[in-house]
C-alpha cells in the first residue's frame, strides 16, 4: 500500500473495538494526511460509524493507538478531543432542535473565547451558506434536511477545526443538496481543513476524496487513492458486501 501523503494528521493504528463480546474493528489502521479528504466506505454494520466514534472519543477501543497531529487521543474525553481541533458533523445532523439556527452555529464555537473573531466567523458562514441568513432566528428543528446539513457544517466550521469528521453527510438529502454538500466539502478542504468522511454512497464520495478505505465487517479490505479505487471493480463488490476475503 502506498501512501501518497507524506505528513499524516490523524492516524488510527491496529485499533480493536468491542461492543461487549462482539468485535467491531479488527486491527483497523487508517491515515488521514494533512489537507486531504479521506473517505471511509462500507455497508451497514461494517463499523464505519464506530470509527467516527473512536476518533471523537465517544467509544474507547480495547487496543490500538489513535494520534492527532502527533499526539495520542487515547484516554481523552470528547470535549478535550474537540479542543485539539477536530470538529464533527454527526450522522443525521443532530442539531439542537429547539435552539435557533444562530445559536446552533454559535454552539460550534463553544470551545473558543475570542468573541469578536467568532462574530466575524459567523458572518463568514453566512457567505459560505447564504441560505442560512434568512433563517438565523428560526428553530433549527424546523429546517429541511438539506438546510439542517448546512447548519451542521457551519456549526462544525465555527470551531476553526484542523479536521472535520463527517458521518454520512449526504444521507437523506435530495440530489440537489447532495451535489451542494459535496461541493461545500471540497471548498472547506481547499481552505485547509482536512476531512474524514464516512459514506455509503461510494461513487459520490470518491468524486471528491483524495484517499479512500473500504471497510467490511470491521476490516479494511481495500485502500488507496480515490482515483484508483473509483475504477476498481472490487470496490463495488466489497462495498455491496460481496464474499471476497481481505
Amino acid at each position: 500500500m502506498t501512501n501518497p501523503a507524506p505528513e499524516p494528521l490523524l492516524t488510527l493504528s491496529d485499533v480493536n473495538t468491542f461492543y461487549g463480546q462482539a468485535q467491531v474493528h479488527f486491527d483497523l489502521s487508517i491515515t488521514v494526511a494533512r489537507g486531504h479528504i479521506v473517505c471511509l466506505l462500507g455497508g451497514n454494520a461494517s463499523g464505519k460509524s464506530t470509527t467516527m466514534k473512536i476518533i471523537l472519543g465517544l467509544v474507547k477501543p480495547r487496543s490500538g493507538e489513535v494520534t492527532f497531529d502527533g499526539a495520542s487521543l487515547i484516554g481523552l474525553s470528547t470535549p478535550q478531543i474537540v479542543r485539539r481541533g477536530i470538529a464533527s458533523v454527526p450522522e443525521a445532523r443532530r442539531l439542537f432542535a429547539d435552539m435557533s439556527v444562530r445559536e446552533n452555529i454559535l454552539m460550534g464555537a463553544f470551545v473558543r473565547n475570542d468573541r469578536d473573531a467568532v462574530a466575524q466567523d459567523l458572518d463568514r458562514m453566512l457567505t459560505l451558506f447564504p441560505k442560512l441568513g434568512q433563517r438565523l432566528s428560526q428553530r433549527a428543528g424546523s429546517l429541511s434536511g438539506g438546510e439542517q446539513q448546512m447548519v451542521a457544517m457551519a456549526r462544525a466550521l465555527m470551531s476553526r477545526p484542523r479536521m472535520i469528521v463527517m458521518d454520512e453527510p449526504t444521507m437523506g438529502l435530495s440530489p440537489l443538496y447532495v451535489d451542494r454538500v459535496l461541493e461545500l466539502i471540497r471548498t472547506i478542504n481547499q481552505e485547509g481543513v482536512s476531512v474524514f468522511m464516512v459514506e455509503q454512497n461510494a461513487s459520490l464520495a470518491l468524486e471528491i476524496a483524495h484517499e479512500a478505505y473500504v471497510l467490511q465487517t470491521g476490516k479494511i479490505v481495500l485502500s488507496g487513492p480515490a482515483r484508483a479505487l473509483k475504477d476498481d471493480p472490487r470496490v463495488r463488490d466489497a462495498y455491496l458486501g460481496g464474499s471476497e476475503a481481505a
Partner: protein
Amino acid sequence: MSSWLDYTINGLIVGNVYALVAVGLALIFGVSRLINFAQGSIYLVGAYIGWVAVVQLHTPLPLTIIVVAAAAAVVGLIIERFGLRPLQNSVRIAPLLATIGISFVLDQLVMLTFSPNPRALPSQLPDVRFQVGGGTIGPLDLLIAGVGLTSALLLFVFLRYSKLGWAVRAASQDRDAAMQMGVDVNRVNQAVFGIAAALGGVSGMLVGMYYNQIDTAMSLQATLKGVVAEVVGGAGNVPGAVIGSLLLGLVESYGVAVFGTSYRNLFAFLLLVVVLVLRPNGLFASARQAPPEPLTGTFIAPSRPVRIPRWALAVAAAIFAVLPFFPVSFYVLQTLINAWLLGMLALSLTLVAGTMGQVSLGHAALLAIGAYTSALLSLTLGVPVGLAIIAGGLMSAALGTLLISPSFRLRGHYVSIATLAIGEIVSLVILNWESVTRGPIGISGIPPLSLFGYDLISPTSIYWFSFIVMVVLALLQGRLLGSHLGRSFRAIRDDDIAARAYGLSLNRYKSLAFIFGGFAAGVSGGIAAHLYSYINHETFNTQQSILALTVVILGGLGNVVGAIVGSVALVGLPEVFRIAAEYRILIYGIVLLLLVRFRPQGLLGTI
C-alpha cells in the same frame, strides 16, 4: 367572594414554592433524563439549615437565604459527583433508584441529627397582613413571590446569555452532539444539580417559614409535588415546570376550598394521573417533541442467575418448616414472620418490576387494599378470617389492576411516577372515605388470624401459616414463570414493540401480571391486618414500597427465590445485628445505593 381571592393568592404562593422544586427537577431531567427523587431531601436539608441559621446563628434574612442556597448547592454537587456520576454508563433506571437511596439516606441523617419532632422556623418578617382587593397578603407571601420571580429571571438570563447556560440547553437537547461541540457534560450536570439544589433548599426554607414548622415528613411530599408539577408542565420543560407548579398550587387551593384540607394531596395526584394518561408529555408539549424514550427492560442487568438445585431449596424449606420444633426464641419466629409477609410482597413486586419490567413505587397500596378488605369483611360482616384474607387478595388483584391500568400505556420512569401517585391516591382515599374506612381513626379490634374456626394465636402457628402461604405463592409464581405466560411477560419487558409485533397484547399481559402480583400482595396485607389488629391509612406507606423494591433488587429482579432471600436478609440482618429501628431505613438506603452501584443484578441474579 373575598375568600376566593385568598385561595387564589394562597394557590399562587404555594405554586411558587412548588416551582422552585419543579424547575430544578426539570433542569435535571432535561440534561440527564432523570427524575431526581432526592430533590425533596435537599428541600428538607434546606429547611433545617435555615432553622440552624435563624434559630441558632440568628442570621438576618438575606444572609439566611444565601447560606441555605449555598449549603444546599453543596449537597447537590456531592449527590451528583458521588451518587450519580459513577452510574453514567449503567442502565437507565439505575440513577433513579440511586436518587431514591440517596433520599432515604439524607432524610434519615436529618432525622437522626435533629430528631423527628417538628420544629418551629420563624420567618423573621413582621406579621402584618395587607388588604388587597378582597383578600389579604403578608410580607412572607411577597417574599416567596419575590424569590420565585427572581429565581425565574436569573435562570432565564443564565440559560439565555451565559456560556454554561447554552451548554445546559444544548446538552438537554442532544447530549452527544453537545459533547462534540466541546461541552463538558460533567460540568453541565454539576451546574444543573447545584442550581436545582440551591432552589430546592431555599424552597424548603420558605415553606418552613410559611407554615412556621418543619419536620422530616416534608421530604417525600416535596418530591411528589415537584414531580407532579414537572410532569404536568412536561418533563424537562423549564417554563412548563413553572406553569405546572402554579396550576398545581391553584388546583390544590381550590380543592381545599371546596372539600377541605385533607383533600389537598388527592387533587395533586389526580391531576398527575390525568395528565400522565391524557398527555404524557405534559400540557405544553407540542407534537414535534419526541415521545419519552422507550425504557423497556429498564433494570435488567444482563446476568446469569445463580442456579440453586431443587433439593437444596427443598432442604432449606424443610429446615424453615421444622424450625419451631427447635428451641428458638419467640423473637426469632416473630422476625421470620415479618420476613415471610415481606416475602409475599416481594414476590408480587419481583413479578411486576422484574419479570414484567414495570418498576412500581406504589406497591404498598396493594397491601393496604388487601388489609382493609380483609379487616372490614371479618370485622363488620363476620366473614371467617381465612376467607376474608383470600377476599383481600382478590380485591387487591382486581382493584389494584384497575387502578394501575391507566399506567399501562406508560413506560420506564413514567410507570414509576404513576404507580407512586396511585399508591398515594389509595392512601388518601382511605383517609377521606370515612364512611367505609373510618378515615384517620383507622380500624381497630381486627379479629386475630383463624383457620376453620381455630384461632392462630401462638407464634408457632402464625409462623407456619405465613410460611406455608408464602411457599405456595412462590411455587405458583415459579410455575407461572416457566410457562408461556412467563415468557410473554419477559418478551414484553425486553422489547414491547417487538412483543406487540408478535401479537402479544400489552394490556392483557400487564393486567395478568398485576392480577397475580396484586393477589400475593393483598394476601400479605390481609394477614398483616389480622396480626396487627389495628391499621390506618399510614400503616402501608411509600417507605414499604421502597423497602420491597430494595428487597427485590437485592434478591435479583424477577428472581422468585431471590425475593425470599432478600426479605430474610433485609428483615433478618438488622435484627441479628440488633440495629436500632431509626438506623434501619438509613441502612436500607445505603444497601440500595451499593446494590445499584456494584451489583445491580442482586444476590441471586436477574431472570
